[in-house]
């Protein structure tokens, strides 16, 4: 591993810690301080500081240090939290993240001393006390394993004897560790009695000079806590079999045998039983986390142990408690024992870090599998087996399996939207600072998961919309008070799943859309004509029109030459839609729906003008054949179909795409009523519906370019490429034709 690699890992860890930090501060801000959260936040900053020290990122160390000290004040007394201080801490997060970014890109970090000074003043920190502590920070670099010694909550019993069995693996020596060092460090904690176990030593003739044969037992009498002992062995975790028992503590409350033990960690509820056991001793190791059985890769456990010899037993990564374990440990064997000291910090489940390319490769292969399976299905279909033939049944089985594998694979790449959401709180702070407004971001459903490719594309439009919400939506504090609203505005950001898509909503409690102003502006810019009759909704949606901006003066915040049309475009590029609804004086609600993944979709396969086309099933509301009496012609060539008293414009797909002339007879085809975003419904007229099938999305842009009306391509069972229609685009483009408005007016 080169230094660059280690740095890379450090910055990856930093990103995790920063997200932990932001999450925690956010929780404190919304739910009030609680010790666990404060500790988590403290730990995050501490780890960053420790890592930064090891790399000599001095600016980062010194700022993180002040930050840490400020948090320490809160940690010592939760009542020290107040709004001004929280605000300062939030700003510190921004600065910290800037410094990390600067260090990462090897640029000069900005001056943070001003904020550091503010922190010191606000939290009453003395500059003198820092220096010596700073030295220590340089030494205890711990980006992965966190130094829990600092987190001891103070009620651990003192003056105990600990019995430590220590059996180094060969790898420990290979990494240049020396058992003598541990003995020395232990003796700094208290009185150590060392016994060396020579039983493992073979005859001289059988001895290999590279093997490890010796074991030691240390009995340490110390005032310190077990955490301190743990810290001694922190670096050799996984390189030795280690067990640490408190002497004189009887563990007879539990008769844990191996089976029970494995059950206990395999099942979520069982963990609760075990929790009280350790609460008395260790407040941090207690988080009993168990790998979700259905999570594909979680079994692999932590990536760290180099020579994990536990291959034959299920990887046991979490221990309910040291006590219960030492009982069970006799049965389990030393391989599990070596992991006994692994500290699990408040995390929901075990995770592994995998390069995203590897997952992408897996997803691509999965796509090939789906295509191949479709080909197979087609061949089998052609062979004319009956529906109960064993071949067909086997195929069905295969299809179910493929689907499951697929959702499993997709789940690997699914990520909560949380990091993006948390980034938005910074956006809010910056906009508030620039405009003098006051706004608070509240989050809901931030753990909703969606494919990473979608998340990546989400950040920019979301940033823009949040900026807009504060800049144009939330009023100045005085105005708000005058209206009887709290001076601080609220922007509520929420995410949830709905019918196979993710919905993200941004709700502000600002002034709402000023429709008169919007309309005036739109007329002025020639987007609509003065005599057009527009509903309130239509006017609201005008803000998405290209080249539209209502701010009286171009502000620093949202008037950057890109408007909401860019937001809409980028969301459409992700296969999503965005809508707005607004109540004057009460605020606006932006809601966008996005596909959960950009890799596969459930497609409706249709034939039209000799071409096979695919529509996303999620867009199709219903299908029907047209009866002659249902079609009406409006004007020259606009036809609508009447369905349950609603008039829906007929979209002749072949003609719309330029594949064929307009049909003369509308009753021969089949219509698919589709939901086309803000422009409402459309009745897509096609020759026939072939069926429904999961299709793999292939980009047209990779080798060609974006094609209007086409969202992407896919490969069908016969190896042919079929195009996936961009339903929203087709519906919108039809309605924006001048005559289309007539239909809309009538349909409305």
């Amino acid at each position: 591993m080169s230094l660059e690699d280690i740095k890379y890992t450090f910055f990856a860890e930093c990103a995790d810690q920063m997200s932990e930090l932001e999450t925690g501060l956010h929780e404190i801000q919304s739910d009030g301080p609680d010790m666990d959260t404060v500790n988590a936040v403290f730990r995050a900053v501490h780890s960053i500081k420790g890592g930064a020290g090891a790399f000599g990122f001095n600016a980062l160390v010194s700022f993180a240090h002040v930050f840490e000290n400020a948090l320490d004040v809160i940690r010592n007394d939760l009542s020290q939290v107040n709004e001004a201080r929280m605000d300062l801490l939030m700003r510190s997060v921004d600065v910290l993240s800037d410094i990390i970014e600067a260090e990462r890109s090897s640029t000069e970090p900005g001056d943070s001393s001003e904020l550091a000074g503010e922190l010191e003043t606000a939290f009453g920190l003395s500059a003198a006390g820092e220096e010596d502590d700073g030295e220590e920070a340089m030494a205890d670099f711990a980006p992965v394993m966190i130094d829990l010694g600092d987190l001891d909550l103070g009620d651990a019993p003192s003056g105990h004897a600990y019995r430590i069995s220590f059996a180094p693996h060969t790898s420990l020596y290979l990494k240049g560790h020396d058992p003598l060092k541990f003995i020395r460090e232990l003796s700094e904690l208290g009185t150590v009695t060392t016994t060396c176990d020579l039983d493992g030593l073979p005859k001289l003739s059988e001895m290999s000079p590279d093997e490890s044969y010796l074991k030691w037992t240390f009995v340490v009498e110390t005032e310190k806590t077990q955490d301190d002992i743990d810290a001694v062995f922190e670096w050799v975790d996984g390189e030795c079999d280690l067990s640490i028992e408190k002497e004189g503590v009887d563990a007879d409350g539990e008769e844990a045998n191996l089976d029970d033990f494995l059950n206990m960690i395999g099942e979520e509820p069982a963990g609760e039983d075990a929790a009280p056991l350790l609460a008395e001793e260790d407040d941090f190791g207690q988080e009993i986390t168990s790998a979700e059985p259905d999570e594909l890769l979680s079994d692999a456990g932590e990536p760290s142990p180099v020579e994990a010899p536990a291959a034959e037993t299920p990887e046991v990564s979490e221990e309910p408690s040291n006590q219960s374990f030492s009982e069970a440990g006799e049965n389990v064997d030393a391989s599990a024992g070596q992991k006994q000291e692994k500290k699990e910090i408040k995390k929901p489940s075990q995770t592994i870090r995998v390069e995203s390319e590897k997952v992408d490769r897996l997803i691509n292969l999965m796509g090939e599998l789906v295509i191949n399976q479709a080909m197979l299905a087609e061949r089998i279909g052609q062979a004319g087996f009956g529906s109960a033939a064993p071949t067909v049944l086997a195929l069905n089985e295969l299809q179910n399996l493929t689907r499951e594998i697929q959702s499993g694979v997709m789940a690997i790449r699914a990520q909560p939207v949380k990091p993006v959401f948390l980034r938005m709180s910074r956006v809010i702070r910056e906009v508030c600072a620039a405009t003098g407004k006051k706004a608070l971001l509240t989050l809901e459903g931030e753990n909703t998961e969606v494919d990473t490719t979608v998340i990546e594309g989400l950040s920019d439009p979301l940033t823009h919309m949040i900026r807009n919400a504060v800049d144009h939506g939330i009023e100045d504090p005085e105005k708000r008070i005058a209206k009887g609203k709290p001076a601080q505005g609220t922007v509520h950001l929420s995410a949830y799943h709905s019918s196979g898509r993710i919905v993200i909503e941004i709700q502000d409690d600002g002034a709402g859309i000023n429709r008169e102003k919007v309309l005036e502006k739109a007329i002025e810019k020639g987007i609509v004509s003065r005599d057009q009759k527009l509903s309130d909704d239509d006017i609201d949606n005008l803000i998405f029109a290209p080249g539209f901006s209502t701010a009286d003066a171009i502000t620093d915040v949202s008037g950057r030459g890109v408007g909401m049309d860019v937001v809409r475009q980028s969301i459409q590029a992700l296969g999503g839609r965005v809508n707005i609804s607004s109540k004057p004086g009460e605020g606006s609600l932006f809601s966008m729906t996005l596909p959960l993944t950009l890799a596969v979709l459930d497609g409706m396969i249709v034939k039209e003008a000799g071409q096979t086309l695919v529509l996303p099933v999620s867009a199709v509301l219903e299908t029907a054949t047209i009866k002659p009496g249902d079609v009406y012609t409006i004007g020259n060539s606009n036809r609508v179909v009447k369905m349950r008293n609603t008039l829906i414009p007929i979209i002749d797909v072949g003609r719309q795409l330029g594949f064929s002339e307009m049909r003369s007879d509308y009753t021969k085809g089949t219509i698919l009523v589709v939901e086309g975003g803000k422009d409402g419904m459309g009745a897509f007229l096609v020759d026939s519906i072939e069926g429904q099938q999961q299709v793999v999305i292939k980009s047209l842009e990779t080798n060609y370019q974006r094609v209007p009306s086409i969202a992407a391509a896919t490969i069908l069972g016969n190896g042919q490429i079929a195009l996936i229609l961009d339903v929203d685009h087709i519906v919108s483009n039809l309605v924006t034709e001048p005559a289309g408005n007539i239909i809309e007016a009538m349909a409305g």
């Binding site: 795409l657 990779t702 060609y704 086409i710 490429i721 195009l723």
Partner: protein
């Protein structure tokens, strides 16, 4: 290998020659990925007329260009006898529909002529140079120039 030979090796380039209609053209062999037979393409709406459609090239979407149409030499009627030359231009991969592949040429500096200034219409920019090889005249296609215009991307 002595210095002279080395220089020669560097200067000589291999080209794939192919026929479109009555004429011979070529592209540098380093830009070619593979040569394959014709298979039915899927039409793309709102595309220039010289884009026949897209085909499935081992799981990726490959656009096919009718080179004859692109060079304003009339539309091809694609059949089993046609050949697709798969070329890579920057990061894009494109299939060129041609009548047949005729040769692999080892072209030295002496064989190359500039494209004549006169007598050629707007298509001139689509050729980078002309190769006179034995008694054949072979125009080298400038792949960058024949790629679909950027303005279409905005459409």
């Amino acid at each position: 290998m002595n210095e002279t030979e080395k220089t020669q090796a560097v200067d000589r380039q291999e080209h794939i020659a192919f026929r479109v209609g009555e004429q011979e053209f070529c592209v540098e062999i380093t830009s070619t990925r593979e040569i394959r037979g014709w298979s039915q393409a899927t039409r793309i709406p709102h595309s220039p007329d010289y884009i026949i459609g897209v085909i499935n090239l081992r799981g990726s979407v490959l656009p096919i260009m009718d080179l004859s149409a692109r060079l304003s030499m009339g539309f091809s009627d694609p059949s089993e006898r046609h050949v697709i030359i798969v070329v890579k231009v920057d990061e894009q991969v494109m299939g060129l529909l041609v009548d047949s592949v005729s040769d692999i040429l080892d072209v030295g500096p002496d064989d190359v002529r500039a494209v004549p200034e006169r007598g050629l219409s707007t298509e001139k920019e689509m050729f980078s140079r002309v190769i006179v090889f034995e008694d054949r005249i072979i125009s080298e296609i400038s792949l960058e120039a024949i790629m679909p215009e950027v303005e279409l991307k905005a459409a």
